[in-house]
Subunit: 419 residues, 2 copies
């Protein structure tokens, strides 16, 4: 009997009506002969309310107490969905993280799943009882509730799919799949039928907010086939899950090998929440990078792109890198404090930049993708301030004002416009 | 080191401001050198919201899922109070029912506590860490969350006090103690310094809503000294707990022996939520009571007072009894259905009645209390429709319109007016 993990995010269970709609999707899969484990988030807004309360109770609160409070949202949704399913004559029961149990490490608030003991749940599933699982939570070595951080329910779903050896993990969300670009920016963007884990990982970490990066990594490591689909289509209109060739709704995130017709470029992503820092006239000698990035790392500031120009005379260089918008002020303060030690002339910070990325596993076997990109952007008069590449991705830093133009230009360039 | 259990009800933790006030009470007791376990209810209104959701999800819901949903309210308050205490430099941690664990029977929604394994909590308390306990909840033999029914947090507090061998259990609520009568009805009612368990039990079950009956029974069985006091007095204004002779705030519920100057009558209680049923011309023969009350019991209708008149000719009798207001329609239907079998002429139901009760352990050694009562009421022209007595209580049924007059008359009669 095929086993499915289904996951419904906060907007998909925001009220009792939406919970009923989610239950409709579950019933469809059960009726089609699937065993189902369903992971739920808290009702939209509920978690924020709980987080606000913990803040109000004490700004520097104990993460263990934060977890006890905040995890209650998923507990509520799981119970309500189980009740709703029962009302549709679908046998169901709720499972809290500690009941399964989902064992995590001790990092309260940002815990990582260590092990899922799924024997009891499997026994329930084989009695054809739907398992409704509170997402986002587990139990730590101290036998107290832990939470997995923002978007943790995706991680719960994928980890559970891996532990149960599920045939697929369906992520129900408020969009109907993964697009070649943000449809709000690029009207001619279209939904991908399939995307590889590697590409999805780049998409996720580069600003396409549909899936949490960690959950995609986990899916890749355990070869969990992920389907991203809309929770808001009427349940009856969707075909049930099956294990044959893919013709389902939404986008399937899977192994590269499963994608027969692979385009060179699968999608264009962008991020506007980065800031650029440039250090002018840094002494060009061994150890200078450590001198700059050491203090930033200590201050817990993540650095993304780094560009170092070779200097003319070999004595000075200019160093450019990007950090999160929200970290810029702290980064500038850290650099000011370390100015003597690093030995630079001036530090400049700017938030008026955007990162635009071209992603596709096809790049591995196609030369000239970057050259095409730079040519097309030059033609539009868009200046490239920094470049960083990986095997399947080229990212550039540009003036934020040109974001739309750049994304649309590249979307057309690589033949992604409305297939 | 003295050990206190403190309990805060829903109105005493209704928002973050009230939670801070509750934390102030806890800090006072900690500063005075007490080990403290604090039991909390859900924030006022929160439980009702959760109950509404379960109703909306499915009217005939699984009680196990109901428990999973509804218990989350106490989990939230416990975490928030722990955070607030930590912010006041009072070491604290939250405990959920399943973490302690508080083991209950399998009756989800109305579970009874079977055993509290308090070893881990005791270890925390002896490190001077306040234990903040989510009330109202436990864990059943199926390892799923159970709840204890309405007012269950009182029961949690008393059971915990018994398990920990606490020196006292303080119930913080929105009134400042137990009164000789409802102050809204009797302006000259006054707060009792002490009341015996037996009296409190009669008060609780007869309509004084301060303490849940079950928790008083439990306190009596385990000799837990209960203090009922206001959560809304400023913490600094109250003296800290001590084990000497009683001069604390609020009302102490304790063993009869601890009350030196015992009055004959301690209080007057009333209940307006009962209905009277009279069966006219019932055949007066063995088995008739079983014929009437058997079907009512099967329909889960609780019968309170029963009065059967001896008939003149020994062939017929009139039978009067009371049920809850809310059960009257069902009771009448049950009786109608069993009319042939019971063999009565007519059934009459009325909700315009009130039960008024005089309570006091002193009655045991004082004759004539009932006679005095009946005389005083007759003088005011109040007709008594039924009488039921126990060792320490006399209850009468009267026309509801005379409730205030009767309660005030009796309050004066037994010398309870404004000492």
């Amino acid at each position: 009997m095929p086993l499915l993990v289904m996951k419904f995010g906060g907007t998909s269970v925001a009220d009792l009506g939406k919970i009923r709609a989610a239950a409709g999707h579950v019933k469809r899969e059960v009726d089609a002969g699937n065993q189902c484990a369903v992971v739920v988030s808290a009702m939209a807004g509920h978690t924020n309310q709980l987080v606000d309360w913990t803040q109000e109770a004490g700004a520097l609160h104990d993460a263990r107490e934060y977890d006890a409070v905040v995890s209650s949202g998923e507990q509520v949704t799981a119970g309500l969905l189980a009740i709703t399913l029962q009302g549709m004559d679908v046998p169901a029961r709720s499972w809290q993280g500690w009941q399964i149990p989902i064992r995590t490490n001790e990092a309260h608030g940002i815990a990582r799943i260590a092990k899922i003991q799924s024997e009891d749940m499997k026994a329930g599933l084989s009695r054809e009882e739907v398992a409704v699982v509170a997402g986002f939570q587990g139990i730590g070595p101290d036998d107290r509730i832990t939470t997995l951080g923002r978007g943790g329910s995706d991680t719960t779903a994928v980890a559970l799919a891996a532990a149960l050896g599920a045939d697929r993990c369906d992520i129900y969300t408020d969009v109907d799949g993964i697009y070649t670009a943000d449809p709000r920016l690029v009207p001619r963007a279209h939904r991908l039928d399939k995307i590889s884990y590697e590409e999805m990982l780049e998409m996720a970490s580069l600003g396409a907010k549909v899936l949490q990066t960690r959950s995609v990594e986990l899916a890749m490591r355990h070869s969990v086939r992920l389907q991203v689909r809309s929770a808001f289509e009427p349940p009856d209109a969707c075909s049930a899950a099956h294990n044959g060739p893919w013709d389902g709704p939404g986008t399937l995130v899977c192994d590269e090998e499963e994608i027969v017709e692979q385009s060179v470029v699968s999608g264009i992503a962008y991020a506007k929440d980065e800031a650029k820092v440039t250090l002018l006239k840094v002494a060009d000698k061994p150890g200078v990078a450590a001198g700059v990035f050491g203090p930033l790392a200590e201050a817990n500031i993540n650095v993304d792109m780094i560009v170092q120009n070779v200097s003319d005379d070999g004595r000075y260089t200019d160093l450019t890198f990007t950090v999160q918008d929200s970290d810029l002020d702290r980064a500038m303060a850290v650099l000011e404090k370390a100015k003597k030690k690093i030995n630079y002339m001036e530090a400049r910070g700017s938030t008026d930049i955007a990162k635009v990325s071209v992603i596709g596993v096809g790049m591995r076997s196609h030369a000239g993708v970057a050259a095409q990109m730079f040519g097309a952007l030059a033609e539009k008069g868009i200046n490239i301030e920094a470049i960083s590449t990986s095997e399947i991705k080229i990212s550039i830093l540009i003036d934020a004002a040109y974001t739309e133009l750049a994304v649309r230009t590249l979307h057309s360039l690589y033949g992604l416009d409305g297939k």
